[in-house]
């Protein structure tokens, strides 16, 4: 009997997946193709699809199938139990929310986004504050519906990284922070000064050809995906049809390249999930942190390395001979690994980036534990930037208003970026240990052994494990900042000589 109910579950999950992937494609098309004046119709289309997807996700038949399967859960094999467990989580996340709440939240998201954009333009946090307060309240209400009671922030973290919580992250970030602040101090005080002004007038067509060459060499399957352009790079779709984007600036060839490599890391994770299970937990990514570990590992550990540039510097110079004329290999490599103090997270390098995240986590934590009122956010922000990065934001636009995330109530999202950096470094050192000659592979432009290893260690696991358990499966130990610290020291300290 359970077999028939499992088939029903499978059928309904496929339907949710198919309709959801159509919604995803609408979103991709909006950012890549939409004509300038066609946003009105796209809003109507997206709303109609949201309604259809919500109806599919809360289909009472799905609830009945889950009830029946759970009543007799021991009759299912382990894989099916995982599918049921995650389908239950997803079902509850949709079905436990009152329709009134869902509609109110959609209106709030829209109003808060516009308020944030306006406040940022005016660089006036107080304009945004009442909307931020409403988003915090809505997030707490959400957590209550899902049964998390007063652990709202943990509920939100769990949305992005199953099994993680604020206390665990706090421990990890404290350890990281302590080591990272002196590393940044070392770098900014160094006599070595990277010169990024060498990147001028790099023709777009050559940038495009170079990043196509690199991303294909890394192992992205272009028969199951493509790369286009958008204002902000992203990776959409799923392993059956990945839609990545990058962006081009003739004076910043590293931006298009490393954006493309970053999204390729995301894309190859999706392409490594089992293709026949994309509609259930076995074929879905483990979470945001795990996803970010893949994009970061390829972007940073692999493609900013000396080994990688030993292989590709000549190809790069062939495409941009005049632009790089007279620039030494060392100067080029240093510019690729430039570190500097920047108040803006998205413009920052892989070293300081983690401190930007730690600051956001600290503020979210204090908001949700009640120790920081909303109108205290800018002061808290500025004093944390001063303390950890010796940066004094000139205004709210450069400070607490810089990121879009809070306007949609996406709390608990920022930590994933840094958790991903930690896991990336841990995976990297484990791969180096287990794959003899890995750096020689990279020096030859050979990435297949590393990709296969990641497929086995991470991709093939789907959503079986919470983040920490996934780390233990993949590398034999839980998440820790130690590998990230070691990696940053190893890569950056020798590069930046002291005066």
């Amino acid at each position: 009997m359970n077999s028939q109910e499992y088939d029903t579950l499978d059928k309904l999950l496929r339907r949710i997946h198919n309709l959801g992937s159509v919604s995803g494609l609408l979103g991709w098309d909006e950012l890549v193709n939409l004509p300038a004046d066609s946003a009105d119709q796209r809003a109507e289309q997206s709303a109609a699809m949201a309604q259809v997807c919500h109806a599919a996700s809360t289909d009472p038949e799905l609830g009945q199938a889950l009830n029946a399967l759970e009543a007799n859960i021991d009759s299912l094999n382990e894989e099916k139990r995982i599918v049921v467990r995650e389908a239950r989580k997803d079902f509850d996340r949709s079905a436990k929310l009152p329709v009134e709440y869902v509609q109110r939240k959609a209106r709030l998201d829209s109003a808060a986004y516009h308020a944030w954009a306006h406040a940022k333009q005016n660089s006036d946090f107080s304009e945004f504050a009442p909307f931020l307060q409403k988003q915090v309240d809505a997030a707490k209400e959400f957590a209550t519906y899902l049964g998390w009671e007063d652990r709202a922030y943990d509920c939100l973290i769990d949305l992005h990284d199953p099994g993680m919580d604020a206390a665990t992250i706090d421990g990890l970030f404290s350890e990281l922070k302590e080591e990272l602040v002196p590393i940044v101090g070392h770098i900014v005080n160094a006599s070595t000064k990277p010169d990024t002004s060498i990147f001028r007038n790099f023709p777009i067509e050559e940038q495009r050809a170079f990043l196509n060459e690199i991303t294909a060499a890394l192992g992205f399957n272009y028969k199951r995906g493509r790369i286009d352009e958008s204002l902000h790079p992203f990776c959409g779709g799923n392993g059956a049809d990945i839609r990545m984007t990058t962006r081009f600036d003739k004076d910043n060839p590293l931006d298009s390249l490393f954006s493309a490599i970053h999204e390729t890391g995301h894309g190859m994770y999706e392409q490594g999930l089992p293709l026949d299970q994309l509609h259930n937990a076995l074929g879905q990514a483990a979470g945001m942190g795990a996803h970010e570990s893949q994009s970061r590992l390829w972007e940073n550990q692999v493609c900013r390395s000396r080994a990688f540039w030993n292989r590709y510097e000549s190809d790069f110079r062939t495409r941009f001979p005049q632009q790089l004329d007279g620039i030494s290999s060392d100067a080029l490599y240093l510019a690729i690994n430039s570190v500097s103090k920047n108040p803006i997270r998205v413009d920052s390098d892989e070293v300081t980036y983690n401190l930007h995240i730690i600051i956001r986590f600290e503020i979210e934590k204090r908001i949700f534990d009640g120790s920081l009122p909303i109108d205290g956010v800018p002061d808290a922000w500025n004093s944390l930037y001063d303390e950890l990065l010796d940066i004094q934001p000139r205004n709210d636009a450069e400070g607490a208003l810089q990121d879009v995330h809070w306007s949609s109530g996406s709390f608990g999202y920022f930590p994933s970026y840094c958790l991903g950096n930690m896991l990336a470094a841990q995976l990297w050192y484990t791969a180096l240990e287990q794959l003899e000659g890995l750096e020689r592979d990279i020096e030859k432009g050979e990435f297949s052994r590393l990709l296969s290893w990641l497929r086995e260690a991470v991709h093939s696991k789907g959503k079986r494990y919470p983040l920490n358990a996934l780390a233990i499966e993949a590398i034999g130990s839980a998440l820790s900042p130690k590998a990230l610290i070691a990696y940053l020291k190893e890569r950056y300290l020798p590069l930046y000589t002291q005066p």
Copy 2:
């Protein structure tokens, strides 16, 4: 009370429109963007959307609203009555079909398409014949469900061109045929021989830039649409977001150009429909013939004219200076208006094209009146080609298997192409009469008066009128081949000198 029911109707029509337009975008993306191996997922997505769209189109609430509105139809103003009338037609077309029939037809379409493709490859009509028979039977069954009894072919024609029927078309085509055969004879026996071999090595980027210039000049609003590439050019979307395509061949710059102009004609029609009514009959095109009248008018009457090339020849030569070096204006103009006997409809010119259509209509008519058994189609085809075009197809692939339409049971579709050509010529002569100096406009690259006139005469009318009534509204007389004959004689007889 009716006002509330009309609001319900309006809401449900918007929903059908939004979901349908998402399905349309999926189809566009499939032909323009889909990665090589991602068709499997697209098939699943399209099937899920088809189910959602069908459910919306047959929503019992919609049937109830229509019943209530029809019971009290006199209380509605004329526009609302039109909306109700067409919504009823659409509702019945979905709701009167048994689910079993819809599913069987979908399977038949898929099987018949593959059988056709295979039969065409083997050039063996007998492989396709049983599937064609099943499609004819399914079409008759469809007509019966919709209450057309034994007038199945008229039912199918009415699907594409509301109000048209086989007897009317037969009369129009007979008159056209009689005049057209001698015109083709005049041209093919002429001593003038266009040389299309002058089109060699026209760089794609310059072709693209030229057609962008032309289509924008004609009046296509690129803020509500775009043009991309696909294997076969088409125009999808609606006035809120038009998605046109063309295709490029460095040895055939006229193909990319005139395909783009043709699709621009379709696109400008859609853009001329009232934007706030796209979800109902007031904002939808009158039918296939009316649509084709727009694409053909811009493609042929306007953009193959001497006036047009007087304006744009120099721009064309600026983009392709070496390629056109030594080619006279007359030789270029003749090549642009090349007429030749070609067994393939899609490769034929605007003169012979009409005879290709007349042949298909004749065969469909005979199939549906029972006078032509399916296995007699190839012989009937070949003898009609011999009689009307002095063409002897070498095999079935070049003959009765060349078009895809019948594999999906799209009978009654072909006539629209020729009805569109007739209406285009009628509109053209009326515009010439009513807009003094129109050809001088075109000679200056000024198309706005013509476009405004078409907006008023055709676009703004939506689906208010059946095709013949639309013609009467627009030009004061019913559809007739006379203008098309006059236009072809005027354009082509002087160009092709007798020996």
